[in-house]
């Protein structure tokens, strides 16, 4: 039983890292632009399908590199045309818009690529388990963890040491003052949105290698990411990181004792956190009032 538990804790951490990647993009957009981006799962799917379409020409590695940038460009266009006009309004407007956009992206992918799922093949050397005993740690899963770690590290470097990152962090705390200092907030929001969508696109390419592609896969992966943000704390990227890992582990451990509750447990966690510490584990006071 101890071995089974340890296996599932490790496995939960691996799953959690994926939620982290999704949730970080979601969190970036929410923190700066005040937009709860329900279409994030849709952008994930778009990223996966773009990678699927360009793989025959550029290979797996080329698709991994290019598809997130194309997705980010689509995200930028969406922000420009649809979301920007709603910034001054009640957040419910952008919530409803992205809610509808999620449908459009899902049905759009179904229209273009069909309802039938698509297989995605990863390089053979990644598709093997590490050892007989640690069969659940495959090369691809380790690669996913590494990609998430690199992305998180780059994101933190971007936010801490670059002018853009410092402005985003400042804007997260007080956007009006940032605007008053002469910084072009429109451009800042657009760039921030496209970075968030870039992470969704990257998640999509990585998920496609693990799960294959289906137009509906985004909505299933979005909800845990949303929970990760609430558990970790709105406004806190380290909180999002912690939240993602925690829900992954909770889900994995629950699968040992009560498999049918492995999905429900993350929502129970969310409810408990909201009751005991409404701002989330590492959330900042005032972000969740």
């Amino acid at each position: 039983m101890t071995q089974l538990l340890l296996f599932n804790v490790t496995n939960g951490l691996i799953i959690g890292t994926f939620y982290v990647l999704m949730a970080l993009g979601l969190s970036l957009i929410l923190n700066l632009s005040n937009v709860i981006n329900f279409a994030h799962g849709g952008f994930l799917v778009v990223g996966g399908y773009i990678a699927y379409s360009i793989t025959p020409y550029v290979g797996f590695w080329g698709a991994l590199l290019i598809a997130p940038f194309i997705t980010a460009a689509i995200g930028l266009a969406v922000e420009w045309v649809l979301i920007r006009p709603l910034y001054g309004r009640d957040p419910l407007y952008s919530l409803l818009l992205t809610f509808g956009l999620a449908f459009i992206l899902e049905d759009g992918t179904r229209f273009i690529w069909g309802a039938q799922g698509k297989p995605v093949t990863v390089p053979a050397f990644l598709a093997q388990p590490l050892s007989y005993d640690l069969f659940f740690i495959t090369g691809y899963r380790l690669f996913m963890v590494a990609m998430v770690a690199i992305s998180v590290a780059l994101l933190f470097v971007l936010l801490r040491y670059t002018r853009l990152g410092i402005r985003i962090r400042a804007g997260t705390l007080d956007l009006e003052t940032v605007a008053a200092l002469g910084i072009n907030v429109r451009v800042l929001r657009s760039l921030n949105f496209s970075v968030g969508v870039f992470l969704a696109g990257l998640s999509g390419v990585l998920a496609a290698g693990q799960l294959g592609l289906e137009p509906t896969m985004g909505s299933g992966l979005l909800m845990p990411s949303f929970v990760a943000i609430i558990v970790g704390g709105v406004g806190s990227l380290p909180g999002t990181l912690l939240g993602g890992l925690l829900i992954g582990v909770a889900s994995g451990v629950t699968a040992v004792f009560f498999p049918q509750a492995s999905e429900a447990v993350i929502y129970v966690m969310m409810a408990v956190v909201l009751l005991i510490r409404p701002r989330g584990l590492l959330g900042e006071e005032g972000m969740m009032t």
């Binding site: 089974l4 296996f7 496995n11 691996i14 799953i15 929410l30 005040n34 709860i36 329900f38 910034y87 001054g88 009640d90 957040p91 419910l92 919530l95 809610f99 449908f103 049905d107 179904r110 069909g114 309802a115 039938q116 799922g117 297989p119 093949t121 093997q128 388990p129 007989y132 069969f135 659940f136 495959t138 691809y140 899963r141 956007l175 009006e176 998920a207 693990q210 799960l211 294959g212 289906e214 509906t216 896969m217 909505s219 299933g220 992966l221 909800m223 949303f226 889900s251 994995g252 699968a255 040992v256 498999p259 049918q260 999905e263 969310m270 909201l274 409404p278 972000m287 969740m288 009032t289």
Partner: protein, 420 residues
């Protein structure tokens, strides 16, 4: 908290509203009518055109549409052309019921077909029985539909879960071993299928090492697979369907579990095999119908007609379900020369499908006692390398007649109550 162009005026309440709305995303669906015209005889079809079963549902619709086209070309039903109205249940019981009511009450359909999802099909049956509309369940497998919850107006084309289990249990036991572990979808279909397999295993003298109930739409099966491998069974039986089957099989192969434990299951579908990479197309399964059979009359024409409609794709079992459901209604109505539901429901009992509709070697007929179609099981093995045609991904070893896989009517728990 102030409001203004740049202010952070979202609150916990807003975030929670968002969470509720996202929950709604799972059940909400666009309102879809795929066909509407002035033709007098309307048949309603409710299937999950969006969601995890969208691929199989759209194939059912393709089959039904082909049947409509062929029947209309031969003069329709009682001289009237058929109009097929397709509604999306979005894989949600409430939506399925609402769409069924809408089709009957507002669109005045004469018959209903659907759903792929067992839970929705059962809920729809309550509505059609209340409204006295003849209803053919095309693709919902749970036993109750033609078992303890059977209704005078409800017939079913696809196999019951009991038939599926009976078609393959003996083979798996003798070929692979006596310790079985299940990965089961946590809803009506999965429960009854697992119970049937476990009961067969018990009769054969085997043991169940575990049963992992997985939520519908699970994307990561690793936690369940860790548990299953730790139990060290002889056979790992996958009872999940759709994208769950694809995700589960992919992860089994990635973890190398297929090299240590035999992987098999009951119902497998071409839609799932097509979504799998070659290395993950493994295991012994049963298909409910397969497009490649030697010497079956009219099959070649059917495959060619479907290819024309689907851009070259072959028909799947789901295509045949849709085709057969619609043809059954038209054939019996033309034979009885009436659209009266009670008369047609009585007439469908023991109704045998003609060769151009059954498209398989054995006798295929609706059983009078429980309204279940006695259709064959195509038992065989998934092919990692396509046999010629890129969509030929299954090797059929035996075709077992429905009479041999189905329990006797007395064992189904079905007691039909006819209206006065």
């Amino acid at each position: 908290m102030t409001s203004g162009t740049y202010s952070h005026n979202f609150s916990r309440r807003t975030v929670l509203k968002g969470a509720v709305a996202l929950g709604g995303l799972q059940v909400a669906s666009p309102f879809i009518i795929q066909a509407r015209g002035e033709t007098p005889l309307r048949i309603g079809m409710v299937d999950p055109m969006t969601g995890v079963y969208a691929a199989v549902a759209s194939n059912e619709v393709h089959g039904a549409q082909l049947a409509v086209e062929q029947i209309n070309a031969k003069g329709g039903v009682l001289g009237r052309p058929i109009e097929l109205l397709v509604e999306d249940s979005a894989n949600d019981v409430g939506t399925g019921v609402q769409k069924t009511r809408k089709l009957i009450e507002r669109d005045q359909v004469s018959f209903i077909i659907g759903d792929v999802n067992s839970g929705i099909a059962q809920a729809m049956a309550q509505v059609t029985a209340e409204k006295r509309v003849l209803h053919i369940v095309s693709g919902g497998h749970t036993d109750g539909i033609t078992g303890k919850d059977c209704k005078w107006n409800v017939y079913r084309v696809c196999n019951t879960t009991r038939m599926e289990a009976n078609s393959i249990s003996d083979l798996l036991f003798t070929k692979y071993g006596k310790k079985w572990h299940f990965i089961t979808p946590d809803y009506a279909f999965g429960h009854t299928l697992q119970e049937a397999c476990a009961e067969n295993l018990k009769k054969l003298g085997g043991t169940v090492t575990g049963n992992e109930l997985t939520p519908l739409g699970t994307s990561d099966f690793s936690a369940y697979l860790i548990k299953a491998r730790t139990a060290r069974p002889d056979v790992l039986l996958l009872l999940v369907q759709g994208s769950d089957m694809v995700n589960c099989l992919k992860q089994i192969v990635q973890f190398g579990i297929d090299k240590q434990i035999h992987v098999a299951g009951t119902q497998q579908e071409l839609e799932s095999l097509l979504a799998l990479p070659p290395e993950a197309r493994i295991g012994v399964w049963m298909f409910e119908w397969y497009w490649k059979q030697p010497n079956t009359p009219h099959l070649t024409e059917f495959v060619a007609d479907i290819r024309k409609r689907t851009g070259g794709k072959v028909p799947t079992a789901r295509t045949w379900f849709g085709y057969t459901s619609l043809y059954s209604l038209a054939l019996v109505a033309n034979r009885e020369k009436t659209l009266d539901s009670v008369k047609l429901a009585l007439a469908l009992g023991d109704f045998e499908l003609p060769a151009e509709v059954k498209l398989q070697p054995n006798k295929v007929y609706y059983r009078k006692g429980d309204h279940q179609l006695m259709t064959s099981a195509f038992v065989g093995e998934a092919l990692s390398k396509a046999a010629g045609d890129p969509e030929d991904l299954f090797r059929v070893d035996t075709i077992v007649a429905g009479d041999q896989t189905s329990p006797a009517v007395s064992e189904t728990g079905c007691t039909l109550q006819w209206p006065a």
